[in-house]
């Protein structure tokens, strides 16, 4: 049976806001993502210069070497505005919560193999500080970037990393004790094996060009660290001792797939814009890739022993494939 619902039909005067219609045509309704993103950043006539950066306007495209005719070309393929973003993350959160609950209620952490436990605690716990740094950098890109299209997802990315830092903390409390978190922080600050990575992270804190920061953090560091930590190392531990770590790091692995869609898309669009961008992005990628590989090598070794080298090669080739696809080969 066909049901035909009728409502009173009132003909609208227009489909969307004029600045949106100018972009997509006047005869179409705009998606929520488009209406909430396009041209939302102030476009003209700022009243005062920042007292904290009088060389620039409040929103200033010259805070990066990258140039775009239209900064709103850097759209997020995931179409995250706040509503779709929080709902997507809430779904990941629900799964992660169920996994933590599963591990805890069945005592799987208590019965976990002790040598795998040691590897997991030594490797994953200091990464909570790397994630804290990523949170800081995401805030920076959002604050100093240009155009809502890219600044919006930069904040989401940064807050995701805070969530990751908190999930890693919970992993530490599930598999270990507060004392293990303390020891991990000590290692982060003092152990030689962590200093290359800590120096990398701290060097990103002083980058003035927010797009270089985007490359250093989102493209290169995460592009190597996540496949290493939540691919290579997790698989090794799972093979050794069962999927407890896989369950406790599920958020991170699923998140990385999602984040990469956005990271790759913006990199590609920025690189395709003009040869100067392409050259600049390639130069940044090459520089930071070199540093990241050097920083992560000893950590891969620590977690994977003599499989560390092969694992690094594997994740590096994954990153290189993404860079090539974006037209930004290092």
């Amino acid at each position: 049976m066909q049901i035909d619902l009728r409502t009173v039909s009132v003909t609208p005067l227009r489909q969307t806001f004029d600045h949106i219609a100018a972009r997509i045509g006047g005869d179409k309704a705009a998606s929520r993502y488009i209406e909430a993103t396009m041209d939302v950043q102030a476009g003209a006539n700022p009243h005062y210069r920042p007292t904290w950066d009088p060389e620039h306007e409040i929103f200033d495209a010259s805070r990066t070497a990258i140039t775009m005719r239209d900064w709103y070309a850097l759209k997020d393929p995931r179409q995250y505005y706040y509503g779709s973003y929080t709902q997507a993350r809430a779904r990941l959160q629900e799964t992660a919560e169920a996994d933590f609950d599963f591990v805890e209620t069945r005592g799987l952490a208590d019965s976990y193999d002790d040598s795998a436990r040691r590897i997991a605690l030594d490797f994953y716990l200091p990464l909570r500080h790397v994630a804290w740094g990523a949170n800081m950098n995401g805030a920076s890109m959002c604050a100093y970037g240009f155009g809502t299209a890219i600044t919006q997802p930069c904040l989401y990315q940064g807050m995701d990393q805070l969530g990751i830092a908190q999930y890693l903390t919970r992993l530490g409390l599930a598999l270990g004790q507060p004392g293990d978190l303390e020891a991990a922080k000590h290692a982060w600050l003092n152990a030689p094996v962590w200093q290359g990575l800590r120096r990398y992270v701290e060097d990103t804190f002083v980058l003035k060009d927010w797009f270089e920061l985007y490359v250093a953090q989102n493209v290169v560091l995460d592009g190597l660290l996540f496949p290493l930590a939540y691919g290579e190392v997790e698989r090794s531990l799972t093979a050794k001792a069962g999927p407890v770590v896989a369950m406790l790091t599920r958020f991170q692995s699923e998140w990385f797939q999602d984040a990469s869609k956005w990271v790759d898309a913006c990199l590609r669009v920025a690189a395709q814009e003009n040869p100067a961008n392409q050259a600049q992005l390639a130069a940044w990628s090459a520089h930071w890739r070199g540093r990241a590989v050097e920083a992560l090598q000893p950590l891969a070794q620590m977690a994977l022993g003599n499989q560390g080298g092969a694992a690094m090669d594997h994740v590096v080739s994954q990153l290189d494939a993404r860079l090539a696809k974006a037209g930004v080969s290092a």
Binding site: E35, D39, N45, M136, A143, E202
Partner: protein
């Protein structure tokens, strides 16, 4: 919190592991290079760990609860849209309050999003950082849910369609715009006092309760749903504002005079922006919630009074200008609406003379001022309009250099006398509406001489499209400015009576209720 592990750990201790414990002091880069903006305002912070995190929200809980709020909110917005909810409004005049909101307030939510990302990055303490970054997230939520809620009104009514372009150019919209530009261009500590404390704590109820309750009273379920949903975020914001000011004051006694000066400045600037709300409450809501005077008495005098009594132990006193703001409550809305009535040709929303019924309400609410000073004025305008001479002021108003509002404010104690103040700086004369605005300028003239004053800009010839040709005999500067504003004459502006909004609303309502 959704943490079940380690039940031995209390909420506070668990939360510390999830936030403060994550941070460290950099050693490979100088701390001043990582946090370059912490010293230039003269604020002294000795121990960031003393900041108390009142709402101990981890990201997983944030996503969970905020997603639930979003689902509920969008379900209501969708239902409202599907059901032609706008036809249930009390009266189409109400829609003009929403135009004011989208063009004036929503862009500020976006500025707050960027501002909190900036201060969140710049504060080294984990506690304030996390709270500021969650607020940055919340503020883009507000900007976007407002854009989405009001998107449906844009389809049917005029004055919403160029909100972005107009916020950056139109004469009265530089009032809210300059307010927030002032905050984000200030240092990070001033920003927190300006927005976190003065705006989000002291004054917020004066913005949101009128708009949200106004929505509820006038059948606007969409805006009401947005409003209530946003308010729960506001509780976290208010708390941050209160905690941050306590923290700053407790860190060093030298911070007190700096903070007091900021409180004085931002109370005054914020109060001036609320002029638009005062006129909205008293003149634009067909079904009124309360008068501006009543709202001021509850939310400023009572609530604010309790707050400043609490802060007295730090040496904080009520803001300078408090007394004047209290005294002005009898006059503010009337003087403001008069100005917008005058300039009704130049604003992308409608204005109108209050009806007899409206004026009876105003008399009752303002026994000391309405009948004496303002009723004769409205009766005069009504008579003129009836006789075909609806008054539109053909000149442009002088704007205050600081708050950028037209200088219609009167002297405290004498509502028949316009208040004028002036200062000289580097051989130029600057004009102000009040002692409060003058003192803000005098303290930082280098900042306020930069103001992009819409009326000055028009007179300087900066507000015309490339096609405008002043050499033509029929050159009409007002018409050309309206084109530059992307306002359509006769559609977006002028009196509500005879407007397309009025005609359409009536026709559609008839369509929905008659056969």
């Amino acid at each position: 919190m959704d943490m079940k592990a380690n039940k031995k750990l209390g909420l506070k201790q668990r939360y510390n592991l999830m936030t403060r414990d994550l941070e460290w002091t950099p050693t490979y880069q100088a701390v001043q290079d990582v946090y370059p903006y912490l010293e230039y305002e003269g604020i002294k912070i000795h121990d960031w760990s003393k900041f108390e995190d009142p709402f101990r929200l981890t990201m997983d809980a944030y996503w969970k609860y905020q997603a639930e709020k979003e689902r509920k909110l969008y379900a209501i917005i969708d239902a409202f849209n599907q059901n032609n909810g706008h036809l249930s409004l009390t009266d189409a005049r109400y829609i003009n309050t929403l135009k004011l909101f989208l063009t004036g307030v929503s862009p500020l939510e976006y500025m707050a999003h960027r501002g909190f990302a900036h201060v969140g990055r710049q504060f080294p303490g984990a506690g304030p950082r996390v709270a500021c970054l969650m607020q940055s997230l919340d503020e883009i939520r507000h900007a976007q849910t407002q854009i989405h809620s009001l998107s449906n009104y844009n389809k049917f009514y005029n004055g919403f369609q160029n909100w972005r372009h107009q916020h950056d150019r139109v004469w009265y919209l530089s009032v809210p715009k300059s307010f927030f530009d002032d905050a984000v261009t200030a240092g990070p500590f001033e920003y927190m006092i300006a927005i976190g404390f003065a705006f989000e704590y002291v004054l917020t109820n004066l913005l949101f309760v009128p708009f949200i309750s106004g929505a509820a009273y006038n059948g606007d379920m969409g805006a009401m749903a947005f409003g209530f949903s946003a308010q729960s975020d506001e509780s976290r914001h208010m708390t941050l504002g209160l905690e941050i000011i306590k923290f700053i004051l407790e860190q060093d006694p030298d911070n007190l005079p700096i903070v007091q000066r900021w409180i004085d400045k931002w109370f005054w600037r914020g109060y001036r922006v609320l002029t638009l709300v005062a006129m909205m409450m008293d003149y634009m809501l067909p079904k009124r919630v309360m008068s501006w005077k009543e709202a001021w008495e509850v939310y400023a005098e009572q609530n604010g009074g309790a707050l400043f009594a609490d802060l007295a132990r730090y040496g904080i006193r009520v803001p300078a200008g408090w007394t004047q703001a209290c005294a002005d409550k009898d006059h503010l809305s009337h003087q403001a609406w008069n100005t917008f009535y005058n300039y009704g040709a130049a604003a992308p929303f409608h204005t109108w003379v209050p009806s007899e019924e409206d004026m009876a309400w105003l008399s009752a609410k303002y026994p000391d001022s309405f009948d004496k000073y303002y009723r004769p004025m409205w009766e005069h305008y009504a008579k003129e309009a009836k006789e075909g001479r609806r008054f539109y002021n053909g000149t442009l108003p002088m704007l205050c250099q600081t708050c950028q509002i037209p200088m219609f404010f009167t002297e405290p104690g004498d509502p028949s006398k316009i208040a004028y103040r002036e200062s000289s700086y580097h051989g130029m004369k600057y004009h102000f509406c009040s002692d409060g605005c003058q003192s803000i300028f005098d303290h930082e003239p280098e900042k306020y001489v930069q103001s992009w004053l819409p009326v000055h800009q028009i007179y300087q010839g900066n507000c015309f499209t490339p096609e405008a040709d002043p050499s033509q005999p029929d050159f009409n500067p007002l018409a050309e400015v309206l084109k530059w504003y992307r306002m359509e004459m006769g559609r977006d502006n002028l009196d509500f009576e005879g407007s397309p909004d009025q005609k359409n609303f009536q026709a559609w309502r008839d369509l929905a209720t008659r056969n």
